[in-house]
Symmetry: C2
C-alpha cells in the first residue's frame, strides 16, 4: 500500500503537493514574484514531513515554475504563455479559429451503438428501446490534446455518417448535413478530476482539475439530437464570457455581449472542437 | 512520510480513490445503476493494492454513493438532488434567487488595503503606487458554503464602504452605491484544485475540484473597478448557458438566449453571490 507510483491515483504525497502548487501557479492564484510559504509551514498545512515538501519544491524548480532567490526564499517565476491556450467565447462557442484550423486533429477512441444511460435517454427524450451512437474523441492542437469529448446521438440520425466522417468533420456539421434543423442548446459548466483513463488520454496526472461541460442540442421540434460530455484541460482551454450592463436607470441588468461585426464571420462557423 | 491524515494533501491512497469515484458519481459520469469495475481492475488501474481499493469502496458505501448488489457487484445509487445546488445563468449571472434569498450568508475572512499583484494592477489599469481593497468572503446557502470570493477594488472606490457593509451587501451594490457607472464585464471560467486554506473554508477535501471564475468589471470610461477571483463547489453550483441557433440559411450561428419576459424581473437584480 505504501509503494509509490507517480501516475497512480494517490501518487506520492510530494507529487500531490507539487500538483496543487503547480495548479495555483498556472491559474495565477500564486502570481509571479509571490514568495511561497516556508518548508515548515507547508509541512504543517499538509500534514506531511519536511522531506516531502522539499521533494515537491524540487519538482517545481525543475519544471521552471519557481526559483530559489537568495535572502528571499522560493518565489514564483513568470510563466511563458502557452501558445495553444484556446479561448471559447460563450456567444459563439468559438475557440480561436486561426489557431484551431492551423493544427487541430482528432483521435477517435470509441465509436459504437449502445443503449444509453438513464440520464442520457431522458435528456434526449428517447424511448425505452432506442439506441444511441456513442463516440469518444480527443481533440488536439499542435499535437497536444486539450479536450476529451463523449457524444451521444440518436441512432436514426447517426446512421447518416460513419467513423471516418467523425475523425475529420465536426459532429455538429455532420448533424446539419444529416438534415437536422438545430434550434437551441442548453449547457452546464462544472469542474471535475481526471480519472485514470481520461488522464492518460489528455496527458495529465490522475486527479488533475478539468473543466467539465455538458451540452444538450435540440432540433426545431424540441427533440434532443446530441448529448455532449466535454472535459477540457484548464491550461489549454478557457471559456470566455463578456457581458454588457444595459437597461435604464430604474432596472439595469447584464446581457451577454454579442459578437462584433468583425467577429461575426467567425461566429458563423462552428468551432471544430464543438460537438 | 507514511503516516495517514485524511485531510492532508495526499490523504491516503484509498481516500484519493474515494474522491475520484465520488466526483465521477456526483458529476453523473458514473450514472445510477452503473456497475463499478471490480477490485482487481481498480487496483491495477490505480497502481494500488486491493486492500486500498476495498477501503475506498467501504467509504463510498458509507457515504450512500454505492451499494453491493448480490450477483451484480457494486453499483452506483441514485443520488438525492442537493436542495442547495445553485444555477447561475450566464445571461443574468443569477443563481436561483428564491433559494439564494432564503438563506444566504457571508463570512468575511479578510478585509484589508494592500498593494495589488502585478496582474491585478494591470487588469484594473492602476498606477504603480495605487492600492486596492482586498476582501475574502465565503458565501453560504442554508449554512453550507458554496463559494470563495476574493475581490480587489481600487482604493478610491472602496473608501466609500466598510467591513460591515461587505458582510451584508453584495459588493456590486456597494460599487453602484459609490457612484460607479458599471458598463461591462469580462469573465473567464476554468477549473482548479482546492488548496488547504480554501478546502477548509469550503468544507471540502484538499485536492477536490472547484469551478474557478475570474471577472473584471469596467466602468463607462473603461476603468477597471473590480477584480474577482471566485471558486465554487461543483456539487453546489453550476454555470448554465442557453443558446439559440439563429441567422439565415446562408449563415447560421449561436446566440446566448436572453432572459424570458417572466424571468426579467429576476435578471434585473444582481445576484447576492456576485461580486
Amino acid at each position: 500500500m505504501n509503494h509509490t507510483h507517480v501516475t497512480s491515483v494517490g501518487g506520492t504525497k510530494s507529487h500531490r503537493i507539487f500538483l496543487l502548487l503547480k495548479d495555483a501557479i498556472l491559474s495565477g492564484r500564486l502570481p509571479p514574484g509571490r514568495k511561497l510559504p516556508g518548508e515548515i509551514k507547508l509541512a504543517e498545512q499538509h500534514g506531511v514531513s519536511r522531506v516531502t515538501v522539499r521533494r515537491a519544491m524540487e519538482a517545481l524548480r525543475e519544471s521552471g515554475l519557481v526559483a530559489r532567490k537568495p535572502g528571499l526564499g522560493t518565489v514564483v517565476l513568470e510563466q511563458p504563455l502557452d501558445a495553444t491556450v484556446m479561448t471559447a467565447s460563450v456567444s459563439n462557442l468559438l475557440p480561436n479559429m486561426v489557431k484551431m484550423s492551423q493544427a487541430s486533429q482528432v483521435r477517435l477512441l470509441e465509436f459504437s451503438y449502445v443503449k444509453p444511460s438513464e440520464s442520457v435517454r431522458e435528456e434526449l427524450g428517447l424511448g425505452a428501446g432506442d439506441r444511441v451512437q456513442r463516440s469518444v474523441r480527443v481533440r488536439m492542437a499542435d499535437g497536444k490534446p486539450f479536450s476529451y469529448l463523449v457524444t451521444h446521438v440518436p441512432e436514426y440520425i447517426a446512421l447518416n455518417y460513419n467513423e471516418a466522417d467523425l475523425t475529420n468533420t465536426p459532429l455538429f456539421a455532420l448533424l446539419e448535413r444529416s438534415g437536422v434543423l438545430v434550434d437551441h442548446a442548453s449547457q452546464s459548466i462544472s469542474a471535475t478530476l481526471a480519472t485514470h483513463e481520461i488522464a492518460e488520454a489528455l496527458g495529465v496526472s490522475v486527479g488533475s482539475p478539468l473543466i467539465s461541460l455538458t451540452r444538450v442540442v435540440y432540433d426545431e421540434e424540441g427533440r434532443g439530437v446530441e448529448y455532449l460530455d466535454a472535459l477540457y484541460r484548464p491550461d489549454r482551454y478557457r471559456i470566455q464570457i463578456d457581458l454588457n450592463r444595459t437597461g435604464d436607470e430604474e432596472a439595469r441588468y447584464w446581457e451577454p455581449r454579442t459578437p462584433d461585426a468583425e467577429r461575426a464571420p467567425q461566429a458563423r462557423e462552428m468551432s471544430p472542437d464543438e460537438a
